[in-house]
C-alpha cells in the first residue's frame, strides 16, 4: 500500500485525489473540537451539547462524503506535510483498509451523539455533562485520525488521545467507586498496550529506518515475528482479546450507554485495525502467526460468550458478547493470515472479507443493543436483568428493535451477522482443502467453536430478551418513562435498518471489501472477488424466501383464525394455586445450566446457605460469575505487590545519619564496580 508519493500540502490542494483526504481531515478536526464551543455556554444549559451534536453531525457527514468521493476513484490517496518533531512528517493516507474502518467511526459516534442529546442531557448532568461532550467528540476525532495516520508518531499521538478521551468519557460519573475502579483498570491496561506499541514502533524504525507506516516486506523474519507479537499484544489490549480483556467489561458497564456503544462498537475495532494494518505492512511468511490468531480468536469467542451468559448485569453481558465478536473477527483474520503464508488468495478473501464485514456488522448491532440497554436502564433504574421483566408491554417498539439487534448478533438469517459469519465459515471449510489440495485442516476445526459460539449466543440473548422484556414485571417498575423520546428511537432505528439492509443485500459491500483485501495482501493470482468466491446473491435470495415464508404462514394463520374464538387467560400455572411474578425463571436460573457446564473456564462463585438444623431461619443462595482473569489473577497479584513492596520503606525512616551512610556506601560500591585498581 504505497502512498502515491508524498507531496506537500500546497501543490495538491487542487488535486481531485486529495479532495477525499481533505474532507476527512476537516471532519477529524471538527469532530475533535466539537465540544469546545460548549465551554462558552453555561454548563447547566443544553446549548453547548446542542452545538456539539450539530458540529458532530456536520463533521461526520463531511467525512462520509469524503469516503464517497474516495470510493469514486478508489486509489490510495496520501497527504503529508513536514512536521517539527525530531522525526519525520505529519502524513496521512486513505486506502481501502482505512475506508473500511472509517465508516463506523463516522456513523456510530454521530448517532450516539444524537442519542445522548436525550439520554445524557447536559442540563440534567451539570457536573459532568460538559466534559463528557468534549471528550466524546475528541474520542471520535482521535479514532478517525488513528485510522488515517501514516506516520508512527502521529499514530501514537492519535492512539493515546483516543485512549485518554475514552478514559475521561467512560469515567464521567467518577463519584462512584465502581466507576473509578473500572476507569483505573482501563487506564493501566491501555497504558501497557501503548507501551508495547511504543516499543514496537521504536523497533520498527530501528528496522525500517523511518517512522513511515509504509510496506516493509524486507524486514528479517526474526524481527517481523517480534514486531507482530508486540503489535498483537499492544493492539490486543485495546481489542479485548482474551486474556487481555480484563479492562473491558468494567469499563463498558460503567460508562454512559452511548459511550459504551462507541467504545464497544468502534473503539475495540481500532485494536483490530492496528493488527490488520501491521500485518498488511509486515511480510507474513510463518504460518504460526495465523495459527496463533486463529486459536486466540476461538478461545476468546467461546470464553467471551460463556462469560456473557454468566452475568446478570445487562451491560456486562453486552460487553462480554463484544469480546466474543472480537473472537469471531480474529478467527477470520487468522484464516486470512494463513492464506497469506500459504499464498491461498481465497482464504484471504473470505477470511479478511468476513472479518471486516463483521467489524461493520458488530458496530451496527452492538451499538444498537447498547443504545437499547441505555433506554432499558433509563426505564428500570437498574442494570440487573433479574429485577426487570415484562418491559415489552410498556415499550413494544424498543422490544422490536431489541429483537432485531439480538437476532443479528446471534447471526441468525436473514440479518447481517449471518452474512459475515457465513463468509468466515466458507473460508474455514475451504481450508479443508476441498479441491484436493493440502489445505490446512487444523484451521477448519475452528468452524466447530464458531458453531458453538453461535449456539451460545442464542442462549445468551434469549436469556437477556426473556429476562428484560418478556413475562410479567418482576417488581413494579418505579416511575417508568412509558414512551421513549424519538431522539433515542431514531438512532436505534437507523442502526436496525442497517442490520437488515446489510443482512439482505451483503453484496453491496463486496467492492470495498475486495479493495481492502487487495490492499492487505497482493498474492499471485488474486483476481477473484468475494462475490465470486462465495455466492452472496443466494444469501439475499434465501433471506427474501424466508421472509416470504414467514409472511405467508402468518397471513394464512391470520385468515384461518379469523373465524375462530380467541380467548384470553392467565398463563397456565400447572395447577399451582397462587403464582406470582417472582416464580418466573430469572436470567440467572436460565443461564445456570450452561454456567455449570462451563464451570471449568468460568469458575463461578456460589454462596450456599447451610440449612442443617431444624427450623432453619431465612437463608438465601447467591451465585455470580466474576471475571476469572481479573478477580483471580490480576487483582490478587496487585494486592500482594501492594502489601509487600511498601516494606522497602524501612530504608526511608527519617534518620539523617543513615542517609549519609547510603552516600558513603554508593561511593564505595561504584569504586568497586569501576574496578578499584583505579
Amino acid at each position: 500500500m504505497q502512498p502515491m508519493g508524498c507531496r506537500s500540502l500546497t501543490d495538491n490542494l487542487d488535486n481531485i485525489y486529495m479532495l477525499s483526504v481533505q474532507m476527512i481531515l476537516v471532519a477529524i478536526v471538527v469532530l475533535s473540537l466539537s465540544g469546545l464551543p460548549g465551554c462558552l455556554c453555561s454548563s447547566r444549559s443544553m446549548a453547548g451539547q446542542r452545538i456539539a451534536v450539530f458540529l458532530m453531525v456536520l463533521a461526520s457527514l463531511t467525512g462520509l462524503g469524503g469516503i464517497a468521493v474516495w470510493l469514486k476513484q478508489a486509489a490510495v490517496s496520501a497527504l503529508s506535510v513536514p512536521w517539527f518533531l525530531p522525526w519525520g512528517q505529519f502524513s496521512v493516507t486513505v486506502d481501502a483498509i482505512s475506508i473500511v474502518f472509517l465508516v463506523p467511526v463516522f456513523v456510530v459516534p454521530m448517532l450516539g451523539a444524537i442519542y445522548g442529546l436525550r439520554y445524557w442531557r447536559q442540563s440534567e448532568h451539570p457536573e459532568n455533562g460538559r466534559s463528557l461532550v468534549i471528550f466524546y467528540g475528541l474520542l471520535a476525532g482521535a479514532m478517525a485520525l488513528v485510522v488515517v495516520a501514516h506516520d508512527a508518531v502521529l499514530f501514537l499521538i492519535a492512539w493515546e488521545m483516543m485512549a485518554i478521551a475514552a478514559f475521561f468519557a467512560s469515567t464521567a460519573e467518577h463519584d462512584y467507586p465502581d466507576v473509578c475502579r473500572a476507569g483505573w483498570i482501563y487506564l493501566i491496561a491501555t497504558h501497557i498496550g501503548t507501551l508495547c506499541l511504543i516499543a514496537m514502533f521504536a523497533l520498527w524504525r530501528h528496522e525500517t529506518g523511518s517512522f513511515a507506516l509504509a510496506s516493509a516486506q524486507g524486514v528479517s523474519t526474526k524481527f517481523a515475528g517480534t514486531l507482530f507479537v508486540l503489535s498483537f499484544i499492544g493492539f490486543g489490549f485495546k481489542a479485548g482479546v482474551m486474556p487481555l480483556h480484563v479492562w473491558l467489561p468494567g469499563a463498558h458497564a460503567n460508562a454512559p450507554s452511548h459511550v459504551s456503544a462507541v467504545m464497544s462498537g468502534v473503539m475495540l475495532k481500532m485494536g483490530v485495525y492496528g493488527i490488520v494494518r501491521m500485518t498488511a505492512l509486515l511480510p507474513v511468511t510463518a504460518d504460526w502467526w495465523g495459527g496463533a490468531v486463529l486459536t486466540v480468536g476461538a478461545v476468546t469467542g467461546v470464553a467471551g460468550i460463556a462469560y456473557a451468559i454468566g452475568q446478570n448485569d445487562i451491560k456486562r453481558m453486552l460487553a462480554y458478547s463484544s469480546i466474543e465478536n472480537i473472537g469471531i473477527i480474529m478467527i477470520g483474520l487468522g484464516l486470512a493470515l494463513l492464506g497469506r503464508s500459504h499464498s491461498r488468495p481465497i482464504w484471504v478473501l473470505l477470511g479478511l472479507g468476513g472479518a471486516l464485514l463483521h467489524v461493520w456488522n458488530h458496530s451496527l448491532f452492538k451499538s444498537l443493543l447498547f443504545f437499547n440497554a441505555g433506554a432499558i436502564i433509563h426505564a428500570c433504574h437498574t442494570r440487573n436483568i433479574d429485577r426487570m421483566g415484562g418491559l415489552a408491554k410498556q415499550m413494544p417498539l424498543l422490544m422490536l428493535l431489541f429483537v432485531i439487534g439480538a437476532a443479528a448478533i446471534c447471526a441468525l438469517p436473514p440479518l447481517n451477522g449471518f452474512a459475515s459469519e457465513w463468509l468466515i465459515y466458507s473460508g474455514l471449510f475451504d481450508a479443508l482443502g476441498l479441491d484436493g489440495t493440502a489445505g490446512f485442516p487444523a484451521a477448519a476445526i475452528a468452524a466447530v467453536p464458531l458453531a458453538m459460539i453461535g449456539a451460545l449466543a442464542v442462549a445468551c440473548f434469549v436469556k437477556m430478551f426473556g429476562a428484560v422484556f418478556l413475562g410479567a414485571p418482576r417488581r413494579e417498575m418505579a416511575n417508568h418513562h412509558g414512551t421513549l423520546p424519538a431522539g433515542m428511537i431514531l438512532p436505534m432505528a437507523a442502526l436496525a435498518l442497517g442490520c437488515i439492509g446489510v443482512g439482505l443485500f451483503p453484496m453491496m459491500t463486496t467492492t470495498v471489501l475486495d479493495n481492502a483485501s487487495k490492499t492487505w495482501a497482493s498474492l499471485p493470482g488474486q483476481t477473484a472477488s468475494i462475490a465470486s468466491a462465495a455466492p452472496l446473491k443466494w444469501i439475499t435470495l434465501m433471506g427474501l424466501v424466508l421472509v416470504a415464508f414467514i409472511g405467508l404462514i402468518a397471513f394464512a394463520l391470520k385468515k384461518h383464525t379469523q373465524t375462530r374464538i380467541i380467548s384470553k387467560a392467565g398463563t397456565w400455572d400447572c395447577g399451582y394455586a397462587r403464582p406470582t411474578a417472582r416464580i418466573q425463571y430469572t436470567g440467572s436460573s436460565f443461564g445456570q445450566m450452561l454456567v455449570r457446564l462451563f464451570a471449568f473456564i468460568l469458575w463461578p462463585k456460589t454462596a450456599r446457605p447451610t440449612t442443617g438444623r431444624l427450623f432453619p431461619e431465612l437463608a438465601q443462595f447467591k451465585s455470580m460469575v466474576p471475571d476469572a482473569i481479573l478477580d483471580r489473577v490480576v487483582t490478587p497479584l496487585f494486592g500482594v505487590l501492594g502489601t509487600y513492596l511498601p516494606m522497602l520503606r524501612v530504608l526511608q525512616r527519617g534518620q539523617t545519619h543513615l542517609y549519609v551512610l547510603y552516600i558513603l556506601v554508593i561511593v564505595i560500591i561504584l569504586l568497586i564496580f569501576s574496578g578499584i585498581g583505579v
Binding site: 499521538i157 522497602l648 556506601v665
Partner: protein, 477 residues
C-alpha cells in the same frame, strides 16, 4: 552580559530585602523574571554576547538550561505573587530575597566555565534554597531544612573532592594544573586515568546528590513534602537542572578523554537504579507531594540514563531537561493549590479535586499524564527519543527495562493521582476559603500549554539549539 545577568538578580534581591511593604515586595519577582527572561532571549539570539570572559561562557548546554529555568521561573514568579497573598500572616522578605538570589546563583552556574566556580555556585544554590524550605517555620520544616543541609553539604563536599581529583589528574599527568573548563577539555585525553575515574565517581555522587539520584535522593521526599508548591517547582525544575548541567560537564570531559564505555556503565546503573527506587517507593504512596518527589527522582534517573546511552539519545536527554522542568512546574504548582484547598497532603482526605478545584485538579491530572510520557505532551517526545536512541545504540535490554519501569511508575503514580482528583470530597474536609485565582491558576495553564506545544512541535530555533548542544557535547565543531 554575563555580569548583567548575574548581578541584576542579586541587586533585585537586595532591593527585596530592603523594600518594607509586605504587599508590594512579591511584585519584584515578576518584574525581575520578565527582565531576566527578556535578557535570556536577547542573549540566545546574539552569539556574540555569549562569551564574556574565559570563565564566563554560555555554551550550548548552558543555553538550554538557562532557557528552561528562566521560563519556569517566569511563571513561578507570577504564581508566587498569588501564593503569597494567601500567606499574609508572615513576612515574605527572606522568601522573595532568596527566590531572587536563586535566580542569580543559577545564572552563575549556567555561565560559569570553570569547574571550581561552578562548584561554588552550586553550593550557593544549596544555601539560598535552605531558607525557602524553612519558610513555614514549623518543626517539620526545620527537620526538612536540616536534612537537606546535611545531605546536600556532604554531597557537595564529595563533589569538591572530585573536582580536586580532576585537577590533580592533570597535575599527575604533568600538565599545567587548572580547572578552567576549556583547558581541561583541551587535554582531556592526557589526564591520568585513575584520578579521572575516581573524580568521575565522586562528582557523579556529589552532584547526583543535588540532582537527587537514588540512593542519594533521601532528602527529596522529605523536603518536597514540606515546601510550598512553588519552591518545589523551583527545586524540581531548577536546582536539579543546575546539578545536571554540572554532570553534563563531567560527561563531556570523560567523553573527550575517551572514557565513554566506562561512564556508560555507571550512568546506566545509576539511572535504572533511580527509576527502580522511584517506582518502588511510589507504590501505595498516600502523600501526593512525596509522590511528586519520587517522580522527580525518576526523571533525574531518565536524564542520567539518556547520558549513559549517549550518542543518539543525547538530543532527547537535553530536550528532557526542558520538558521535565516545565511539566514539574505544572505538577508542583497545581499540587500546591490542591494542598492549600484541602489543607492536607494525604489521599485519605484529599479526594475529588476535580470537583473542588476544577482547574487545578484537571491540570494536576494532565500534568500526571504528561510526566508519565503519554503522547501528545512534551515528555513523551523526549522519552521516546531516548528510547529510540537506546534501540539505535543496540541496547535492547536497557530499552525494555526502561519501558517496564515507566509502566511501574505510571501505575504507582496514577493510583495516587487518581485518588486525589477523582471521586467526591469527603464531608469532614475543613472548608478552606481557597479557590483558584487568576494568579495561582493562569501560570499553570500557560505552562501546560507550553508542555503540550513541545509535544506537538519543536520550534526550529530550539531544534538548532539542541543540535548544537549535542554536537558540542560530542566535541564536534
Amino acid at each position: 552580559m554575563a555580569f548583567a545577568m548575574i548581578l541584576f538578580p542579586f541587586a533585585m534581591a537586595a532591593t527585596a530585602a530592603a523594600v518594607p511593604s509586605n504587599r508590594l515586595r512579591p511584585w519584584l519577582l515578576p518584574l525581575t523574571a520578565v527582565f531576566f527572561s527578556a535578557a535570556t532571549v536577547f542573549v540566545l539570539m546574539r552569539p556574540a554576547l555569549m562569551t564574556t570572559s574565559p570563565w564566563l561562557i554560555l555554551d550550548p548546554p548552558g543555553r538550554i538550561v538557562l532557557l528552561a529555568i528562566s521560563t519556569l521561573f517566569l511563571f513561578c514568579s507570577f504564581y508566587t505573587v498569588g501564593y503569597l497573598q494567601y500567606r499574609k500572616e508572615r513576612s515574605n522578605r527572606v522568601f522573595c530575597a532568596c527566590m531572587l538570589g536563586f535566580l542569580g546563583v543559577m545564572s552563575i552556574v549556567v555561565w560559569s566555565h570553570h569547574l571550581g566556580l561552578m562548584w561554588v555556585a552550586i553550593e550557593g544554590t544549596t544555601l539560598v534554597m535552605a531558607p525557602l524550605i524553612y519558610f513555614n517555620r514549623t518543626p517539620r520544616s526545620i527537620e526538612a531544612t536540616w536534612k537537606y543541609l546535611m545531605i546536600g553539604s556532604v554531597g557537595i563536599a564529595l563533589a569538591l573532592l572530585g573536582t580536586l581529583f580532576l585537577a590533580y589528574a592533570s597535575v599527575q599527568a604533568g600538565l599545567e594544573s587548572t580547572l578552567a573548563f576549556e583547558d581541561v577539555l583541551q587535554n582531556a585525553s592526557l589526564l591520568s586515568k585513575p584520578w579521572l575515574h575516581a573524580a568521575f565517581i565522586l562528582l557523579l555522587v556529589g552532584y547526583g546528590t543535588k540532582m537527587g539520584l537514588a540512593p542519594m535522593h533521601t532528602w527529596k521526599p522529605e523536603v518536597y513534602g514540606e515546601v510550598p508548591g512553588v519552591v518545589g517547582a523551583i527545586f524540581a525544575g531548577g536546582v536539579t537542572s543546575c546539578a545536571f548541567l554540572a554532570v553534563l560537564r563531567i560527561y563531556q570531559i570523560c567523553l573527550a578523554a575517551g572514557e565513554q564505555a566506562y561512564m556508560s556503565r555507571m550512568l546506566l546503573l545509576m539511572g535504572l537504579f533511580s527509576m527502580t527506587v522511584a517506582g518502588l517507593f511510589m507504590v501505595n504512596q498516600r502523600d501526593f507531594k512525596r509522590t511528586l518527589a519520587y517522580s522527580s527522582v525518576e526523571h533525574m534517573g531518565i536524564l542520567v540514563l539518556g547520558l549513559g546511552i549517549g550518542g543518539p539519545a543525547l538530543f532527547g536527554t537535553l530536550l528532557h531537561i526542558l520538558t521535565n522542568g516545565l511539566t514539574k512546574g505544572v505538577l508542583f504548582l497545581s499540587s500546591g493549590n490542591i494542598h492549600r484547598a484541602y489543607d492536607s497532603k494525604s489521599t485519605d482526605v484529599v479526594r475529588g479535586a476535580m470537583r473542588r478545584l476544577p482547574l487545578s485538579g484537571t491540570l494536576f491530572l494532565a500534568g500526571f499524564l504528561a510526566i508519565t510520557g503519554s503522547p501528545p505532551f512534551g515528555p513523551f517526545v523526549s522519552e521516546f527519543t531516548i528510547l529510540n536512541g537506546a534501540f539505535d545504540a543496540g541496547r535492547f535490554w536497557t530499552a525494555g527495562l526502561f519501558l517496564f519501569l515507566l509502566l511501574v511508575i505510571f501505575i504507582g503514580m496514577g493510583k495516587t493521582v487518581l485518588a486525589v482528583v477523582q471521586g467526591s470530597a469527603p464531608a469532614q474536609v475543613g472548608q478552606t476559603p481557597y479557590r483558584d485565582g487568576l494568579l495561582t491558576a493562569a501560570p499553570i495553564v500557560l505552562l501546560m500549554g507550553l508542555v503540550l506545544l513541545l509535544g506537538l512541535l519543536i520550534p526550529a530555533p530550539l531544534n538548532t539549539m539542541l543540535h548544537d548542544a549535542v554536537s558540542y557535547l560530542e566535541g564536534r565543531p
